[in-house]
Structures are given as C-alpha cells and as structure tokens.
C-alpha cells in the first residue's frame, strides 16, 4: 500500500485555525483531538496498571509465606477483587482504547475519530469511575470483596454497602466503553480514505472493529447484571434470591454471557498489534491476511456460545456440558490459524529483534501456553479438578499479562517513535524485556503446579506443602513489578528526547501511519490520502 499526500491550497489557513488549542489543563479537559485523547487513555491505563499492580504486590506479600502475616483476610479479598477490576477495566481496556484512538484514524487515513466530543466524554468519565471504586476501599466495612466476578449471593446478601459504589462505577465504565466502541465503529465505517476498502484495512483496525461490536453487545449485559445485583441488594427484587423465586446460578449465566466475550475484547486487539509488528520486523507481508480477518470474526462469534464453560461444576446436564466443551475447543481452530500465520510470516523473513519484536515473539509463545492451559480447562472432567485453583489463575494471567499486556507494551515500543518523534533507548528496552520475560514466568509458571496440586484461588493462607512454590511466585511477582519501572523510565526518557525518528521509523514498516512525519502532527490527513 502506498500513498500520495496531496497538499490542499488552503492548507496553511486551515492549519492555523485547527491547531489552536487552549494551554495547560484546559487543553486536556476540552480536547477533542484523537491523539490527545489516545495519550490520556494510555497514561490513565499506565497509572491504573501500577495501582492494580500495587494490589498484586500486597497479595503476593501475604502469600509469600503460609499463615497470616500482613493483612486481614477481608482486606486480602478486597485486594483480589479490586486488583481484578482495575486491571481488566482500568488497565487493559483503556490501553487498547488509547491505542485505537491514536492509531485507527492514522491507519485508515481519517482526520480524527468520527465523534470527537463523545470521545472526550468517554475518556473523562473514566477517572471518576475508578475514583469511586478506589474510594470505596476506605468506607466502613471496606470495598468490594466478592471477587471481580461478583457472584450472587456474595455480592447481594453478603456484601457491604460499598456494593452500591461498585455498581455505580461499573455503570460508568460500561458507558465509557460503549461510547468508545460506537466511536470506533462509526469511524471505521464512514471515515476510511478513498480506496481503503474493507480488505485493505490493517489488521489492528479489523480486530478493533470486531472488538467494538463485542463491546456494544456485552457491556450492556454487564450493566444489566450489576443493576440486578443493586436491586436485589437494596430494592427487594429476587433475581438471584431463591426465597423470592430467583436463582443464584442465573447470575453466573448472565455474568459469563458478558464475561466470555469480555476476554476476547481483551485479546483481539492484541492479535491486531502482533499482526502489525511481526511483518515489519520479518520484512515480509503478513501471511494469510484474509484468513486472519475470518479467524477474528469466528472467534468473536464463538465467544457468545461458550460462556458456561466457566460453570461446569454448577451441575449442568451432560448434553449442556458436552456442547460447551466442544464449542470451547472449537475456538482453538481459528486461534491456531492465527498462530500459524504469524509463524509463517516469519518463515524465511529477514528478521531483526528490536524490542517491539521481542515482546511480540514472547506474546506468541506465552499466549500459546495460556491458550493450551485454556484447552485443558475446557475439558469438563479435568475442569472439575482445576476449577477455582491456581491453575485457573495461571491460565488467565498467561493470556492477560503475557498476552494482552505484552502486546500493549509491544505496541507502545512500536509506535512510541511515531508519537514522540524520538527513538526509545534500545538497551533499556532490552533490559525491560528480559527482566519482564524471566520474572513473569517465575511468577506465573509455578502457579500451574500449585493449582494442579490443589491450591485454591482467592485464599489468603494455604497448606504448608505449597510454601516453596509460593515463595518463588512472590519473588517473581516483586521482580516483575520492579521491571515495569524500567518501562516508565524508558517512556519518560523517550518523551524528553533521544535520537530523532524517521517518518518510517522501522525499515520494514508499511501503512499510512508511517507516511506522516514523526512525531505525528496534531492534525493528520485533513485531506484524505489517495490509496493506490
């Protein structure tokens, strides 16, 4: 794909007008610029990543040794709950939305997102959602402590009054996500540059397009289920209360009807990122572009048909468990297509190993490990052993940390020179990569073993035979947490200066975002590029 940027004659005049922005905090409060909003999303996600990470450190500190050392069990439960909520809704999802804001308009040759004012809103309500959630930790009786999955009756009958704040903050997060998703769909649908046909769109745009559909279909279901929790707790309804004719298992069905597509919301954009990075550093076109698009769509459709694999132990009839088991295993097929295509892209490529590529390669290997443990969990009889153990914790941290987070980090390294105009410090980046890679495996791999041996999740204490592994895991956790400080150092250093980046930045990079100058000007593609 190549591009000719035609300069309009009245460009200077327009430029003057458009580039005017208020200074100081007002620039950020009032901005409707997709790059500003993208930056705010990414910084917000980074802050949330460290807040959620601090909670993980508290969890690992308590679990360093058996017995109760540092925190009360009730506080421990609040930490596991809020850690999960913050990482899912505060770190991973806003980071992807930030990347979408920054990159989608530039990748499709659009001047901005389609709905810039709504874009401002969808970002600015988010800090309040998390402020409410975090402040609830300081309420008498503490914050939410029922797990991020807030199963009834834990969240209805047995929860504290912070539940109302929890519900309200989830509502705000949901509204923010839905507005963001509508914006992405409308942008991609209506604002592609002439000649940017559907099957010419970069895969990051495709995966986000499909993710946005998942978001508008399941975030309202989440809003519905938290509303039911709220009315059950405070207004005398009995959606999940057996005494009034409700059913607590119904909660799990509705929650996981949201929850399973949600996990694909957190991984499909990662697939798009890796599909952008691998061809660049292998200096080859992506292998099987069309099959990647179809695989993404199939994963999205299948994600609606597998929710009850989270509920095998609730006593479902055999035909239902069989259906959900086979449907779940079917997802391995399109996912396998993707992994195959990435490997085939690298086959006989002229590969170099800059930091984004290293993270992308680690993503492929470690995400696949997480995928395999997912397949093990899909097998119903085996799941009866693994259910609610650290094996599950190991599985979803492999797909979310070494999957989603590694892809976000790879994306930041990949596009950072385009954002700041400076190259990041390659050797610091390597330090970040190797420290993260080693510590993350020390952190999550032994969880498989303690899980198989029967250590339950969400418990502040454990049997003595798990002591050694847990000490390893905690050390891995602390090292992984510290390694991320290197990342912050790299980011600050790069934002302040460094070797000037070229427009193309990477030798093998292709796509519209590499045609604009580095750093990307405040306004890009005010006149649509011509795509040949």
């Amino acid at each position: 794909m190549s591009v000719v940027i035609t300069e309009p004659h009245d460009h200077e005049e327009q430029h003057e007008h458009h580039d005017h922005k208020p200074g100081g905090i007002k620039r950020w409060l009032y901005t409707t610029n997709h790059k500003d909003i993208g930056t705010m999303y990414l910084i917000f996600a980074l802050i949330m990543f460290f807040i959620g990470g601090t909670m993980a450190m508290i969890i690992r500190l308590e679990l360093f040794q058996p017995g109760m050392q540092f925190v009360e069990p009730h506080f421990f439960n609040q930490m596991t709950t809020v850690h999960g909520l913050i990482m899912v809704f505060g770190a991973v999802m806003p980071a992807f939305t930030g990347l979408a804001n920054w990159m989608i308009p530039m990748m499709i040759g659009a001047p901005d997102m389609a709905l810039p004012r709504m874009n401002n809103w969808s970002f600015w309500i988010l800090p309040f959602a998390f402020l409410i959630l975090l402040l609830s930790l300081f309420m008498p009786g503490g914050g939410p402590s029922f797990g991020w999955t807030f199963y009834a009756p834990l969240s209805t009958t047995y929860s504290g009054d912070s539940t109302a704040l929890f519900v309200f903050s989830v509502h705000i997060m949901g509204i923010s996500s839905i507005m963001g998703a509508i914006n992405v769909i409308v942008t991609i649908w209506n604002m592609r540059a002439p000649g940017m046909t559907w099957m010419k769109m970069p895969l990051f745009v495709w995966t986000w397009f499909i993710t946005a559909f998942l978001l508008i279909m399941v975030m309202p279901v989440l809003a519905g289920v938290v509303t039911m929790v709220l009315t059950d707790k405070y207004f005398g309804t009995s959606f999940f209360d057996a005494a009034g004719g409700g059913d607590p298992v119904l909660f799990q069905h509705i929650f996981w009807f949201f929850g399973h597509p949600e996990v694909y919301i957190m991984i499909l954009p990662a697939f798009g990122i890796v599909s952008a990075i691998i061809p660049t550093f292998a200096r080859k076109k992506l292998f099987g572009y069309a099959s990647m698009v179809y695989a993404t769509a199939s994963i999205a459709i299948l994600s609606f048909l597998v929710w009850a694999h989270h509920m095998f132990t609730t006593g479902m009839p055999v035909f239902a468990t069989l259906f959900f088991m086979y449907a779940t295993m079917l997802i391995a097929v399109p996912t396998g297509v993707k992994v195959f295509n990435w490997v085939a892209t690298m086959w006989r490529g002229a590969m170099t190993f800059e930091v984004p590529m290293m993270f992308a390669l680690a993503f492929i290997v470690l995400f696949t490990i997480g995928g395999f443990s997912g397949l093990m969990l899909a097998i119903t009889p085996a799941d009866f052993q693994y259910h609610d153990t650290y094996f599950v914790v190991a599985h979803f941290h492999y797909v979310l940390v070494t999957g989603a987070i590694f892809s976000i980090v790879a994306a930041v390294y990949y596009w950072l020179p385009k954002w700041t105009g400076n190259m990041y410090d390659e050797s610091l980046g390597r330090w970040h990569f190797w420290c993260s890679l080693i510590s993350v495996n020390l952190l999550f791999f032994p969880m498989h073993f303690v899980g198989l041996a029967g250590m339950p999740r969400r418990i502040p204490d454990y049997a003595l035979q798990f002591a050694d592994f847990n000490a390893f895991i905690s050390i891995g956790g602390f090292l992984f947490g510290l390694s991320q400080l290197i990342f912050v150092w790299v980011l600050i250093k790069c934002a302040r200066g460094g070797v000037k980046a070229t427009d193309q930045v990477w030798e093998g990079a292709e796509g519209l975002e590499w045609e604009v100058p580095s750093p990307a000007p405040y306004h890009t593609f005010e006149t649509p590029p011509v795509i040949k």
């Binding site: 279909m217 399941v218 279901v221 009034g244 298992v249 009807f257 009839p317």
Partner: protein, 185 residues
C-alpha cells in the same frame, strides 16, 4: 456529519437491545429450565395426575430433605426420611413446621430435585410450596405434599431426592399487605 447519524442510531439501538436482553435472560432461563428440568426445578403449578397408569413393576425410592435457611427460625422437617413408591401412584407426605418464636413468620419453601433430569418426572398435585405459609408464634402445623412419579421416568433413575429450603419472607409479605390488616394483627 449527517451520514453518521443513522449508523450511530443503529448502534445505540443494539446497545439498548442488549441491555434488555440481559433482563430477558431471566424469564428465558426459567422457561429453559422448565422445559429441560435443568437445576432440579420442579413445576410451580399443580399436576392433575388423573390419567397416570400405575407401574407396579418399578420401585422408586424418594428421599425427603428439609432445611430452614439460616435466617429462618422455624423447625422444619419431613414426617419420614424416605418412602418407596411405584410410578403413577399418588402419595401424601406431611412436613412438620413449628414456629418457636413469639411472632408471626411467613415462610416460602423452594423445592429442588436431584438428579436434575428427574425433576420433570416428579409431579406435585398439591404442595405447600405453591404458596407462602403463615404461622403464628409458638404454633405448629402439618404441611401436606401430594405427589406422584411419572411412569415415563427414565430407567436409570431409582432414587429421587426432594429437598425443600424454607425461607423467611415475612418482610416481603408484610410489605404486600394493606395497612389495616397489619394493624388488625
């Protein structure tokens, strides 16, 4: 941009429809459970049992469990623990309820049948679980259950366990009463 509006409208409609769908799952789930007998849910309405043919060749053991919820002060137990029946036979079983407190308490029993797939074949002609039961303080009563097992019960089931959990619904009941009734109490 004008051309955005129809698309935005449709997308908002999808989001709203999915919000509604979340709530629609509640009745859908009940219908689905009724049809398939998942979760051991028995029918909430009376069966007639008129045209059932008694199958004397099979003997089914029925186990009765009764359990007051932890907030429910009633004593609540079945008259006998187990009973053997032929499919199609109509039986009556009494549950004893006693209110040891000094105040009126309203109870609601929720049945559950195990194994779940047998729930469709366990038919109740009359059951105290069909309505809320009131019991004044210090009183006791017998609560009858009239049932039969459908002869179509698949051959692999020889034992059916019926469990009742009894909940205190006095608060909800009080809220529903017209004001003068409560004063009259």
């Amino acid at each position: 941009m004008a051309q955005n509006k129809p698309l935005i409208g449709k997308l908002i409609l999808v989001a709203l429809a999915m919000f509604g769908f979340g709530f629609a799952l509640v009745p859908l789930y009940d219908v689905f459970c009724d049809l398939t007998g998942i979760n051991g849910k028995t029918a909430a309405v009376a069966a007639t049992g008129d045209n059932a043919v008694i199958d004397t060749s099979r003997v089914i053991t029925i186990e009765f469990l009764a359990r007051p919820n932890k907030d429910m002060p009633w004593v609540f137990k079945p008259e006998v623990q187990t009973m053997t029946v032929h499919p199609g036979e109509i039986h009556i079983m009494n549950y004893l309820a006693e209110n040891p407190t000094g105040r009126l308490i309203v109870g609601q029993a929720v049945p559950s049948v195990s194994p779940g797939q047998a729930a469709l074949y366990f038919n109740k002609i009359e059951c105290f679980c069909f309505s809320q039961q009131q019991l004044a303080g210090g009183k006791d009563m017998l609560m009858p259950l009239q049932f039969y097992v459908d002869p179509a019960l698949p051959a692999q089931f020889n034992t059916i366990t019926l469990n009742y959990t009894l909940y205190d619904v006095t608060q909800a009941w009080t809220a529903q009463q017209p004001q003068q009734d409560i004063i009259g109490e």
